[in-house]
Every structure is written in structure tokens, then in C-alpha cells.
Point group: C2
Chain length 180, copies 2
DNA sequence: ACTGCTTATACAACGGATTGCGCAGGCACA
DNA sequence: TGTGCCTGCGCAATCCGTTGTATAAGCAGT
């Protein structure tokens, strides 16, 4: 149950709306902890009830009104407490990997197609992370070092995945050529 | 909802008990899809009702009796159908990574301690995967190539994580020395 | 004109997942 | 003799997460 803590971490340096947070979860932090907007709005509601965050209503024209959330002292205290406790073990759900493990029964061509799509996605992500990392390297404040580490994790992860994908491709192509 | 498919993949080459599967989920496949024994027993019950798997009761002495599960033709068909459909996007929940992102508020020493423990775990995992991979390389049947790829993923992943951990250590130690 | 994307928030229902508990015997170690 | 760990199976409650649906307005492309 630490979606709340991920939200608090994001609110640590900036005031943000639920929508802003949802976008961040879709990009940078998403690699590490994913959440949809429904989850986020719900959690923000709970955090507000518990005085961990406060918001101010901001009317906009052209666009719908929004609520800009900010972390409170109580929220910051909760975050510090959580940081002291040992982290829960990481959980993963990667269906594509399960497929590769069971690929003996699969059609290699279909899998190769899916692999190509994923390679495409990962390459785009890698480029994004690298661009973000370069931005951060220029402005080095106290907090940006840790944001940079998160990006480095993303970069190393994409690179490792892409290297692995090449090994998968070789095996699948070999399987294909032996079928005919 | 593809815990069922992960189970079917594991049962593809071997007859196994719920306990056996739980161990595999804790080790090899666990990197990619995790599940606890409660989930596994529940799912095996459902799969059995739907004739995707069958089991035979095996009495043991010294140890409790067990049920050895085997995949059925219907189960294999379901697996093939699933392999054809595009995989659901991967989901991650890595609390430690969230911590690093929010480390500006954390106590660097506590985090370093946790990092050391995780490095230890990852190194052990890496050694296990490498040993398993060497075993598989000797006996190269049709199916073992895909199992080998799963292990390769595990190996590359641990290596990338360990490289990243060194970067984290540097930053944390630097933060520490500037505090005093 | 129509379709679809973007900004913005939110409820309801269902199913999946985690946590807690319980049983049961054997083996090893102190 | 007690404690803890390994082998094995399972139920119940609750919590988390996903999917579907709703509203509302603007802007871009076909």
C-alpha cells in the first residue's frame, strides 16, 4: 500500500493536480510504480481526509477547473516514517516474459512481431530518459541528484532489456528457419 | 488475469504440486511474475474445475500427501490461444526505487544499509541464475532454449541492477560526507 | 460534421491479490 | 524439551486495482 508514498514523493518538490500526477506515473515513475488516474484521484481524496495533503481550487477557462495539491507537514512526517521502514519486496507482472518462457507452444512469427513493437517502445522510452537526464545534469541542485538516479535506473533497464531482446530474436529466427 | 497462464507454462514440461510451483514462483519465474501459495492453490482449484489441469493424489510418508498436477489438452489449447493474443503491458511495484526518488528526505545511512542487503540478495540470485543457465547449456532440447532465455533475462537484469546500485552508493556516500 | 485527443475529476462494480489464520507431521539444532 | 524450518494443503476477510461509465469543453485533423 505505498501508492500514497509514491504520490507524496512526487508532491515533495511541486504542487500538482491529479492529472499532472497521472502523467508522471505514465512516464518517469511509471517504470517503477504504475497507477491509473482512477487510483490516483481516490488516493488523493484519502490523503486529503487524513491531512497529508491540501489542495486549492484553481478555475480555468477553456479547460475544466483543477485542484492543485500540496504536501503538508503531516504528509512529510509520514513520508519520513515510511522511508525509515524497510521497503516491501518488489513485485513484477510481465506477461510477455511469461510468453517467452512458454514459447515452445507459440507461433514464432507472432512473437517476433510483438517483440518488434516492444523494442520500438523501449527505444523511445530510452531516448526520453536520456533527454531528461541531460536536462537534469545541467541544473544540479540537492534534490535533482536523486531524480537523476531514478532516470539512470530507467536507462540501464531499457538497455539491458534491448540487449536481451536481441538474444530472443536470434533464437526465434533460428526456430523459424528450422520450421521450414 | 494471467497467473493461470504462468502456471500452465510451468506445467507444460513437468508434473508438479502446488508447493513445487510456489517454489518456482519464488525463484526463477518470480522475477517476472510473482504469486504466493494461497493464490496458486486457489488458481489450481479453478483450473481443475475447468479441466485445464488434472491431478493425481500421491500419499507420502514422513511428509504430507500431495497432489501432482498435469496440464490437459484443453489447458494446452487455452495456452496457445493466450500466446496468440497480445500480452498485457508489464506492471511494476518497486518500493525501494520510490524511496530512492524521495531520498532527499531520507536518512542516507539507513538507505545505504538497505542497499547493501538488496545488493547481497541480487548477487545471490545472479549466482543461482548463472548456475542454472550452465546446466541448461549442456542439455539442449527444443524447449530448454526458451527456459534459457528466461534465465538470461534474469542475469542481465541483476547485472544492470547491480551496476545501478553502485551509482546509488556513490551519491549516498557523497551526501553523507557533506553532512558531517 | 465527425472522430479522436487533451485537459480535468469522479463513482460504481467486479475480480484479483494480499494478509491472516489454521492444520499436520517430520527433522535438525541447541 | 523447545524453537524454528521444511513440506504440504486450504479458507476467509479485506484491500487493492482494473474496467466501465459519466461529465464537460476545446482543439486538430479528415
Amino acid at each position: 500500500m505505498s501508492l500514497r508514498h509514491a504520490i507524496l514523493v512526487l508532491l515533495q518538490d511541486e504542487e500538482a493536480s491529479g492529472y499532472d500526477l497521472a502523467r508522471e506515473f505514465a512516464n518517469s515513475i511509471g517504470l517503477v510504480w504504475n497507477a491509473t488516474h482512477q487510483q490516483i484521484y481516490l488516493e488523493l481524496g484519502k490523503l486529503n481526509e487524513q491531512n497529508m495533503v491540501h489542495y486549492r481550487h484553481v478555475p480555468q477557462d477553456g479547460k475544466p477547473d483543477k485542484k492543485l495539491y500540496r504536501i503538508t507537514d503531516e504528509g512529510r512526517q509520514e513520508l519520513v516514517r515510511w522511508l525509515r521502514r524497510p521497503a516491501a519486496p518488489a513485485r513484477v507482472r510481465d506477461a510477455f516474459m511469461v510468453k517467452v518462457a512458454g514459447a515452445a507452444l507459440a507461433d514464432p512469427e507472432t512473437l517476433l512481431g510483438e517483440l518488434d513493437q516492444l523494442v520500438q517502445q523501449r527505444k523511445e522510452r530510452l531516448a526520453n530518459f536520456e533527454a531528461e537526464a541531460r536536462k537534469l545534469e545541467r541544473q544540479s541542485e540537492g534534490n535533482s541528484r536523486f531524480q537523476h538516479l531514478t532516470l539512470r535506473r530507467g536507462i540501464l533497464d531499457q538497455e539491458a532489456w534491448l540487449a536481451w531482446a536481441e538474444e530472443v530474436r536470434e533464437v526465434l529466427e533460428d526456430t523459424l528457419s528450422h520450421q521450414h
